[in-house]
Point group: C3
Chain length 351, copies 3
């Protein structure tokens, strides 16, 4: 983070802030109240941390109007209605400063097929390959070392980080972001086995990614056997995720890191899959279902269900079962003790 | 999928088909009976779905000779002996049309060391690097942005998708396919720890991949400490798999996505590892063993064993244990109730 | 492994060895006593394998001085104080021969921004991109196809294998090694959801990697929301690992393949995470904690704790619980039998 904001800069960003104190230091970092050092900006986002404000070493502190206290020497209080929102606004400003949109144009070293259609408003970085029939719409940015296969279509304002790749015939909507090392449209894993030989089943479909999808670093999305593997609008996928062939992911889903979704599964809208979750092929995960990290889901889930565990069970049930599992040593003892008592009682009765 | 097949094209592909009906539409997609739209081709592969044929919106329908029914207006029935086989044949045709073999030659931008031996019948795409002593045999295709280290040997007709990489001294047989982002021959993870310092143990072996192996996107196969990490003939590896140093994978194995095989493990021929399976180092997984998804295998398995769970147990046992785990609440209640009864009985006996 | 060492070479490497026997063969491989073939060098590292020495087919055998026996015809015994150490020394020699340090210089095809600072003692390979403000210190080696973003700082003697990438503003210490496909500084996975729309939370921090860290193939390390994601000195990370935003990994840790560490977790010094382990966000894993493969850790761990399982429990407890889980069928039977006995006893008492 290479930020450098003077008190005047901060005042111009927060024109409505009530300012107390004065500093000549530039803010060069952002940190929590507790971790901030001199030169940092911090914020009181939740009143339960108000006790930490007095101790903070931060130079600049975003505070709500009703916080009681005063800055120490060389410290500046900026009182704003909603400090968290103000911080968020500030971060967006900083983000825009740190990563200004790249200007349109094609780097000298890029290899663009004559039959590709690259918008004059797109940026194509060094060592990119854009093949025949590919379409890059206005505002697309290919950072470098990207591979765009034949007849691939990119909507407006797509962003490909270095080394992201899209195989032939795949389609991206608008504002899709592929992080580094992502591969969209790799061959699905399908074989027919005859006499011990695994023959690849042709995978002649493609991948369609709708608007506003983010795909995390080194994630792989395989193309369909027929038709489409599809990722719905606004879905966000983390790093190192595997999306198998013919999978349909709905809108607004969240797939955390290292999730694996097997072929032909359907993930309905707004489902949330925790890290390292595995979904068996051909299942249907209902709308808004929530799946705890590392769960292994081997049956379809109705809408809204919350599960965890391998095999995945209803969240509260699995919690309870794990507690009972912890009590197995006790249970074995109790049963042993019952057996002894019964033996004794039987003896007494027989007498 | 960018297919376009007229009725005449289909008839030429299926010369033995009995044709009923007529359409001027070109088939532009393939879909299941239920999902097909006008313009699609579909098929009845299993008679249990015969009820769906009448409802399908597909324009072209592959059907067995004995299906009773007639096409609707503008629909075409193509009766063939085995619709599934016919479909498979069609898909192979389409695949060959969509991905024609690239012509031999070296792209202007590729960097080929003078000491490399590239067959005039190989294709080397843009931004490839081929280092000294590397051998690319006839029919090899490097799609682009590939890295071929020193003294790497590729047999005939190997296919490297964009960005696949092979490190120094590794060897591929014939018809090996590496998907995008694959890294073969990365350094094995081995350290000797002295006084808290982890010193890398030299990893001076290589990786040998036999004929007809497929390696999925972003999968990593580490080179051996000594000798070889080896993947046997006809084995198919899915995406994001980790194969550790000195591992031996036999012939005809299937490793599904996100599997991790730790160092020096031996996976014998025809073993099947489900998605996200983990294998502890130095184990031996017997021939034809089948390991359920997400299992964690911490002991060697005899040939043919079917296991699941973490720790992995025999499949039927683990199923049963999971059912019993689900019944723990009931068991705790039963034991509690027994304890009360016993207490009461003891009281009565003492009276 | 392309080694070729004559008996004379070996004697020059081990000048203190006592040599018995003679061979004209060059040693072309290294293997265990049992696996070695003619032409291989082997070693007796542990006296419990002494029985295998007589059977070994190796041409050269490293042995301790007190081993009793004599070489067969054409075989050479090299007696040294500590055969394992001698082997290790030999491997380092071979490693240095196989991978000589690349000479300094910038490949013609590399794209270096005029505002980057590349040491004349660094090597920058083909198709690398080095952006404005980046600093490559003396001894750095970029093997090829690497991407170095703006203002990235690399200390001395860093090694980037082909295709490793570092995003803007990240910093590496000295002797950091990034294997192929590694991405350092990708965007953290953070969203704020408003009315079903996931808005990316700006991730304006960076990644800092300290001295002597190794990062395995295709591993991803996300940049922080604010401040830094940090990997401490001497930590070694295996392949396909995910390190989330704002994570702090201490010094000397080992993260095995396919581990996932969620955002803001803290892994203290010398912790060891087995393969496929998952760590929930915001946890603290104490110094020297050891986490068994595939464990799912959902609570912070004190220093030195050894755990396994999902959810992770103390190692011995989890072992015991798994044994008891295996005995559930027996327990259910015992409880059923108790119930019958009680029923019978109750009947007798009532009589």
């Amino acid at each position: 983070m290479q930020i450098s904001l003077t008190q005047a800069d901060l005042i111009s960003i927060f024109p409505d802030a009530k300012v107390e104190g004065q500093s000549d230091r530039t803010a060069t970092g952002i940190a929590s109240l507790r971790e901030a050092q001199a030169g940092d900006l911090t914020f009181l986002g939740n009143m339960k941390y108000r006790g930490e404000v007095e101790q903070t070493k931060a130079t600049y502190v975003l505070l709500p109007p009703d916080y009681e206290g005063a800055p120490s020497a060389g410290q500046v209080y900026l009182r704003v209605e909603r400090p968290s929102l103000a911080l968020s606004l500030l971060c967006r400003r900083i983000e825009a400063m740190l990563w200004p949109k790249l200007p349109a144009g094609v780097h000298d070293t890029a290899v663009i097929d004559a039959g590709a259609d690259v918008s004059p408003e797109a940026y194509v970085g060094p060592f990119c390959v854009v093949q025949k029939g590919a379409v890059l719409s206005a505002g697309c940015v290919l950072h470098g070392q990207n591979f765009i296969g034949r007849d691939v279509k990119l909507g407006q304002d797509c962003l490909l980080m270095p080394g992201a790749k899209i195989m032939d015939f795949c389609e991206l909507g608008n504002r899709v972001r592929l992080h580094s090392g992502v591969v969209v449209g790799s061959e699905g894993f399908g074989y027919e086995t005859n006499a011990g030989v695994h023959e690849p089943v042709p995978q002649i479909g493609n991948v369609v990614i709708e608007d506003d999808v983010d795909v995390g670093t080194n994630t792989t999305i395989d193309r369909a056997r027929f038709n489409q593997t599809r990722v719905g609008r606004g879905t966000k996928i983390d790093n190192l995720v595997q999306v198998g062939h013919n999978v349909t992911v709905g809108r607004g889903c969240l797939l955390c890191a290292q999730v694996g979704v097997s072929g032909s599964a359907v993930i309905e809208d707004y489902a949330v899959l925790g890290g390292q979750v595995g979904i068996v092929g051909h299942l249907r995960i209902g709308k808004g279902a929530q799946i705890g990290a590392q769960s292994g889901v081997n049956h379809s889930l109705p809408a809204g269900q919350v599960v965890r565990g391998t095999p995945a069970r209803a969240y509260m049930l699995e919690q309870r079962l794990e507690v009972l599992k912890s009590r197995l040593p006790e249970l074995f003892k109790r049963v042993g003790s019952l057996e002894e008592t019964i033996k004794r009682l039987s003896g007494e009765i027989e007498k």
